[in-house]
């Protein structure tokens, strides 16, 4: 068919279409009275206390309110309660458990439960429910790794004791992430009618559309001001459109949308530990290994040279990367734990030092002899591939900017945008735009311990340092958090070695992403803790503190 679109300006097309379409709508007779209905629910806040919120904070396909299907991390705060919780200063505090004690040998954790906890159907939360939940998840073993748990026992009437095979200081974080389900009502259809003991209960779930939650009258904590939360399950673009059409009170925005102005809404910026960096294979090429159970090739001759990794760490200018890739909406990152209690401050360096990077390279034997701009060592060029998820704008921008900067000190990075599936297959032979960041230090272990090589995707670098392994093991098996933190810090840098950027640098961490939301200017989101990886749900940890100003 012939095509003719020359000479038609876009604005004319739009206005013409608008007229034609309104005619069509009149023909079909659909512009109905339901406008008022949508608008009325939005405008009632001026007279009464606003009790409902509409949020568009991302797609929620996974989890489906069932911990076995992956409902955990931060989002459980809405509908479920867990043994422990994290407050806005990142302290571990009691939730279902009034407190907790750890035995001398760090093997037995004891939790006296509160008496007033009830599920949203009015039934008491019993120690049997806790026991059932943990045993069920341990048995399933897919979403939560509880393989180190030996037994879960009810001691006395309202106290539960969990015995471990070996001490595990990071167990405390899992205690905050596992939502307790009712033994009497849990089966494979639990998702359809989830019953939890959190401040809200799911009253309606339209897959792919929305989740409606209502205040759980049996909730034992502080009564929230907002009695009803509606989550629209929209992608970023649609969420922004919803904000502009004033159909949502909070939407999440990627940094590229941060400059968008929406009337009546203000941009909320929250610091996060959601970090991005470059994962670099730490072993020479030629080996074989596993990624998520699949056999893959392992190693890279260039990135396995320590000088290359350290040069990148000191040579890349983190502030410029922030400006280019994030429009400045972020912070510099030197580790996976910046600013957290287990962060080793000594690893902070002055970066963007091209001369220092060149010197490290020269000391390591990398010099540009043939004047092509790329340094060589024994005939090998400092050139390697770097994979990034092509569907992730931020990671592709960051990769481009980093590759550009690295060329200034003679390292050539070839960028390849692919899907995550392909990254998992090829990632052990090349650099990868990496991400992570949690409210607990367990990822420090999974990403840097040699015990994690070939397990999951944690240690993609195949990084192995006996000294670091020792510190990590000590941190993991510490009986107190303070002691554990000491070892976490030593594992990063003990003055001689460590996995941080000034040490072995298997991952060169670059930036931390600010989490951005557009929220109604009257909405007060309380004191937010530093956010963790996983943009969408980090906001809800303190949902009961939210309020609506006049």
């Amino acid at each position: 068919m012939k095509k003719n679109r020359n000479g038609i300006s876009k604005s004319l097309t739009i206005s013409y279409l608008a007229i034609a379409l309104s005619l069509l709508i009149l023909l079909t007779g659909c512009a109905s009275s339901s406008n008022e209905l949508v608008n009325s629910s939005r405008s009632q806040n001026s007279t009464t206390v606003k009790e409902d919120l509409v949020l568009a904070v991302g797609i929620m396909d996974g989890g489906q309110f069932d911990p076995k299907k992956g409902w955990g991390m931060t989002q459980i705060r809405l509908t479920h309660s867990s043994l422990l919780a994290i407050d806005s200063d990142l302290n571990f505090i009691g939730d279902l458990a009034k407190s907790y004690t750890i035995s001398e040998d760090a093997l037995t954790w004891t939790f006296p439960l509160r008496e007033d906890a009830k599920f949203s159907n009015g039934e008491q939360v019993t120690p049997e429910d806790v026991k059932f939940t943990y045993e069920m998840l341990k048995e399933d073993g897919i979403k939560f790794d509880l393989s180190f748990v030996k037994s879960i026992d009810v001691v006395e009437d309202n106290t539960i004791a969990i015995t471990l095979n070996e001490p595990r200081s990071t167990f405390v974080s899992q205690l905050t992430e596992i939502g307790i389900v009712p033994k009497a009502h849990y089966d494979e259809h639990y998702s359809e009618n989830p019953i939890g003991s959190g401040p809200y209960q799911v009253v309606q779930y339209n897959e792919g559309q929305q989740v409606i939650m209502q205040y759980n009258p049996y909730w034992y904590g502080k009564e929230p001001q907002f009695k009803k939360l509606t989550f629209l399950l929209l992608e970023e673009d649609a969420a922004l459109a919803a904000a502009k059409a004033s159909q949502a009170d909070i939407v999440y925005v990627p940094p590229t949308f941060a400059e968008q102005k929406v009337e009546g809404m203000t941009l909320r910026t929250y610091e996060s530990i959601d970090s991005r960096g470059i994962m670099l294979p730490a072993v020479p090429s030629g080996g074989k290994g596993l990624t998520n159970g699949k056999e893959v090739e392992v190693g890279n001759d260039v990135t396995s040279d320590l000088a290359i990794r350290q040069a990148l760490n000191i040579g890349l200018d983190r502030q410029k990367l922030l400006d280019v890739a994030l429009d400045g909406h972020g912070k510099k990152a030197y580790s996976l734990a910046d600013g957290l209690p287990w962060f080793n401050e000594e690893t902070v360096i002055e970066d963007g030092k091209i001369e220092a990077a060149t010197k490290i390279l020269a000391d390591g034997g990398w010099v540009d002899t043939n004047k092509d701009g790329i340094v060589e060592k024994d005939g090998l060029k400092a050139e390697f591939d770097m994979y990034f998820s092509s569907s992730d704008q931020l990671r592709s921008d960051l990769s481009l900017a980093a590759a550009d900067q690295a060329s200034a000190f003679g390292i050539k990075i070839n960028l390849i945008g692919v899907t995550w599936d392909e990254i998992y297959l090829k990632g052990k032979t090349a650099a990868v735009a990496w991400g992570g960041g949690r409210h607990h230090p367990y990822q420090l272990y999974t990403m840097n311990s040699s015990e994690q090589i070939d397990k999951g995707i944690g240690n993609m670098s195949n990084y192995h340092n006996p000294k670091v392994d020792e510190y990590l093991h000590q941190a993991l098996t510490s009986s107190s958090l303070e002691e554990a933190n000491t070892y976490w810090k030593l594992a990063q840098w003990d003055g001689e070695t460590g996995f941080s950027g000034i040490g072995d640098a298997p991952i060169v961490w670059l930036v931390r992403v600010d989490h951005l939301y557009l929220a109604n200017e009257k909405l007060d989101l309380g004191k937010q803790p530093i956010h963790s990886h996983g943009h969408e749900w980090a906001l809800f940890g303190n949902v009961t503190e939210w309020s609506w100003g006049k």
Partner: protein
């Protein structure tokens, strides 16, 4: 006729078998790994646990074994269990298909009727300003990607004018029992409109060409000489001769309609079959994906079949041609 139908039935069965084999092979060849998609990028799952997942889904078997066990189950009416939603594929398809069907059905009727009327009007008034406008309108629309059209409608009618919601199939925050029919219509208009608009252009331009051919035939010239008015010519000669290509075009349009529906659903976050297929594809949910592909190809096949049969019923000359 009976023989024809038997041949068609054999054809559809082989088509479905071929399609399912093709889908299985393509998925097997792609780097997509359903295990990765399921456990996500940040799992602590150990190799033993991964083995357990593989066993649970049967992905540790060879693709041929997987296909055979899938086909066996299908012959007993079992489409399998969706990996993503962990519920029977057939249930998901059932609920989503109705939503999509309403969308596609409305768009189909609207675009057919409006397209036909526009095409007729243009042909009868050939060369006049109304013909030029319709032609220009159709050319513009035909060269417009459907998602772009959806976005324009979204910006104009949902964001600027606030007449319609930006997405979803029901009002946000409303309980299912309170949702009135008019609310559903309200959410339905923009996606349906997006889908209709593009179909209009196709039918309009084909009808226009066909009608111009008819107007140039000797019997129409003779009729005009006899003093028949435009309306009489249209009524006596135009409708019968031009409706056939319009109808077969409309039924053959089922495939495009389905593709368009996928994009429109994506733009408006409308929970139909198309958006489910996208999710299933991206997340490597093989049973759900194959299920939707089979159902949708049946749907497209049915469209073509109806087009053929109608042609034969309306036009006796086509009888006997295979």
């Amino acid at each position: 006729m009976a023989k024809n139908i038997v041949i068609r039935l054999i054809r559809v069965v082989t088509l479905l078998i071929g399609l399912s084999i093709l889908t299985f092979s393509l998925i097997h060849l792609s780097p997509m790994d359903p295990v990765n998609a399921y456990i996500g990028g940040d799992s602590s799952a150990s190799p033993e646990q991964i083995e357990k997942i593989k066993e649970y889904w049967g992905v540790d078997k060879s693709p041929v074994e997987q296909y055979i066990s899938w086909a066996k189950a299908l012959l007993q009416g079992n489409f399998g269990i969706s990996k993503l939603y962990r519920s029977p594929v057939i249930d998901i398809i059932q609920s989503r298909f109705l939503t999509s069907l309403a969308l596609m059905g409305t768009a189909w009727i609207l675009s057919g009727v409006i397209g036909y009327v526009l095409g007729m009007t243009a042909a009868i008034n050939r060369g006049k300003w109304i013909d030029k406008i319709i032609k220009w309108y159709s050319y513009t629309l035909v060269s417009t990607p459907i998602f772009w059209m959806g976005l324009i409608l979204l910006i104009v009618f949902a964001v600027w004018l606030k007449w319609f919601p930006v997405g979803l199939a029901m009002p946000g925050g409303m309980m299912e029992s309170e949702v009135r029919f008019v609310d559903r219509i309200h959410h339905f208009v923009l996606p349906a409109l997006t889908l209709s608009i593009l179909g209009v252009a196709n039918v309009a331009m084909h009808t226009r060409e066909k009608m111009i051919d008819i107007l140039n035939t000797e019997y129409v010239i003779f009729a005009r000489a006899r003093g028949e008015s435009k309306w009489q010519i249209f009524k006596n000669h135009g409708v019968r001769n031009s409706i056939i290509p319009a109808i077969s075009l409309q039924f053959a349009y089922f495939g495009e309609l389905f593709g368009g529906s996928m994009l429109a659903e994506q733009v408006f976050a409308y929970p139909g079959l198309g958006s489910t297929l996208t999710t299933a594809g991206l997340k490597g949910d093989l049973p759900l994906m194959v299920g939707i592909i089979l159902i949708s190809s049946l749907f497209v096949f049915a469209g073509n079949l109806v087009a053929d049969i109608l042609n034969k019923v309306v036009d006796p000359r086509m009888k006997g041609e295979a």
